[in-house]
Symmetry: C2
Subunit: 394 residues, 2 copies
């Protein structure tokens, strides 16, 4: 099978190359013989593909396998931490974050630049983003690794087919072709620019951080300025046929509640968003709120409990619809987990019809506000691992 | 491969038998050679399995294939309409329905016995159900077909692993082991008794009635006394890890609304259920309501519009969470589609965050109130087709 062979052969090699890399991702430390047994490919084919993957620094040879028993030992293969890295960017309402994630999933050089992006012209914010990307690339160069692509998390509706940002209400952005605009600004980064909804990318990052022992069905809900959710069913993100799923912020909690930016009344965001909680506790920022919660301040606790009640109404609707056994609190909510979890569980136990016969857990995210930017970088890694041939010849 | 062979062989035959039957179900009119090509089994294996399936009346030989072109013509195989039938029962709040469904999905002998089952002792209702099952079996005998099993639809939370009915709020039933109790009453019907939630079974029936041209992602919502929903994602019913999904009736529409039986206020059921609509229109039954709607009666139209607004709030939350492009109105709602659809769409267009960039359809169910009992019978057919060997040796 050569690069110049017929299309069929090229497709076969592309497929086999992905099979081999996936076998290593699933079983780090596997030998060439192990890959052959696992994939059904011949040892000769495996060896030739492994050599190619080693040359592109996608795989790493760790030397002879450590194992007992007779027989010749193969060498231990794993995904290379020195291979191409995913560059993740999060464009949040009040910060821009970047990080690098290697093929093994390890995160490097996470940086957060605070600063309000609300109401700013798109180009001004993209200037900041472009500078942050350039800085992250310089850090990759200093680490001696290649950037395999750029993943971007945004707080808005992103069409999954095109990456087009339809609307980011809290940024007041409408119809922005982020992939095209960022490609123009940053030049080809080896692969493409992948844009996704921050809540969905955060849920993906959480899923892989929790690993095999974690729940396979959960709602990941996070609050910064807006409220976003990512729904994981049977170990897979469910973002819907057009990518618009996971919208929880405008859940109608109270038809007589305060007016929302969207025109409706009593949306969840207005009752349980970060600004609503700070406002209702009369706190200037999250640090102050958390300090007062630690000091058992009544007004601060009441504010969090009111938010928990509103959040419980929205999440109980999701649990009733989908019979989901776990809620993962991300973003700001992860930091408030100690005070949110109990009143939230109380509300869920009251409102979830199946609660007497089914356990519901409320877990804190281990990643907190870092989840979305990690998920954005990991989405690049995922596309490389899913199709290494496209990366190597791209 | 013989019946007395080792377990491995028995498992292989069981698997192959299901493969063959599935090939016929997917391509009615297929020949033995066609099955062999499709499944990768040898022609000898296919012939032996087909003979066995013909003998058990699961398959039907329609004679020489009608096709152009050279070569020997095989005979046309299809699922047998004279094979075992699924017997479906629906225990609704105000009726008991039964029907028979053959392997091709055709429905026979649908019977509905009206009568209020609310607050009745479970045994009294099960007496009725047992008589209805006996009558349906007699009809099967008159048709000269076997009953392959009993499927039961109930308006409550059914644990998918065990078939245990945890609660049916509108019947006031709690913790009823329906599979065990019905098995004791009816004797072995060839296969087992399968119990499921009526809204989920109705959604399944709707999915197969709409066929290939219909939507693959939709919420099927129906109202009789309660309100139930079934969620279909990518052509599969999503009933949740424990089978408790699709609960929409207690969606919190208005925290200051009328008190619900469940203890909360302003649940969807209290605002958009059949009784709420009739009460608010001051109509004695659905026929009167529909007549008045046809006569353009203001009070009747207002009542339906108020229900549509409440239903829109609940369904928009589902669409926002799951990015689902279609709503199928079942049960009573199917009959009210003409008057419900427009105000419902208006509400959805206002509340669904992605509405400006994504089409939402509101379709009437083609099955109406028959969907659940058909789905119950079809669930039996599905288990037979999925594992014909278990049926034939059972």
């Amino acid at each position: 099978m050569t690069e110049t062979g017929p299309a069929g052969q090229h497709t076969v090699r592309r497929h086999n190359c992905a099979l081999v890399l996936d076998a290593v991702a699933q079983s780090p430390g596997i030998s060439r013989a192990g890959i052959a047994a696992r994939t059904g490919l011949t040892k000769a084919t495996v060896s030739s593909l492994v050599d190619r993957l080693l040359a592109a620094a996608l795989l790493h040879d760790e030397g002879p396998q450590q194992r007992a028993g007779p027989g010749r030992r193969g060498t231990s293969l794993s995904l290379s931490p020195h291979g191409p890295h995913g560059l993740g960017v999060e464009i949040a309402v009040d910060y821009v974050a970047t990080c690098l994630v290697d093929l093994t999933g390890a995160v490097h050089d996470l940086r957060i630049r605070h600063g309000d992006n609300r109401g700013q012209p798109v180009d001004l914010v993209l200037d900041k983003v472009t500078r942050a990307i350039a800085a992250a690339r310089r850090r990759a160069t200093r680490r001696g690794v290649a950037v395999g692509g750029i993943g971007v998390a945004v707080p808005g509706l992103v069409e999954s087919d095109t990456g087009l940002l339809r609307v980011a209400p809290n940024l007041d952005w409408h119809g922005v072709d982020l992939p095209a605009r960022l490609r123009r600004r940053t030049g080809p980064p080896g692969r493409d620019v992948i844009v996704g909804n921050e809540a969905n990318l955060a849920a993906l990052a959480e899923l892989s951080a929790m690993g095999e022992g974690g729940p396979r069905d959960f709602v990941h809900v996070s609050a910064e300025i807006g409220i976003g959710a990512g729904i994981v069913l049977d170990g897979e993100l469910h973002e819907g046929s057009r990518g618009f799923g996971g919208e929880l912020g405008h859940f109608p909690v109270d038809p007589r509640g305060p007016r929302c930016r969207c025109g409706a009344r009593g949306c969840l965001e207005r009752l349980a968003g970060q600004e609503a909680i700070l406002g209702s506790a009369n706190a200037t920022d999250l640090e102050e709120l958390i300090q007062r919660l630690r000091d058992d301040d009544r007004a601060a606790k009441d504010a969090v409990e009111r938010a928990a009640t509103a959040l419980g109404a929205a999440l109980s609707a999701a649990v009733n619809l989908l019979d989901i056994p776990a809620i993962v609190l991300g973003g700001t909510y992860a930091r408030l987990h100690t005070w949110l979890a109990e009143p939230l569980l109380t509300e869920l136990r009251t409102r979830v019809v199946s609660a007497p016969w089914s356990r519901i857990e409320v877990l804190p995210s281990s990643l907190g506000t870092e989840a979305a930017v990690r998920g954005a970088a990991a989405s690049v890694v995922r596309t490389i691992v899913a199709d290494p041939e496209a990366f190597m010849s791209g």
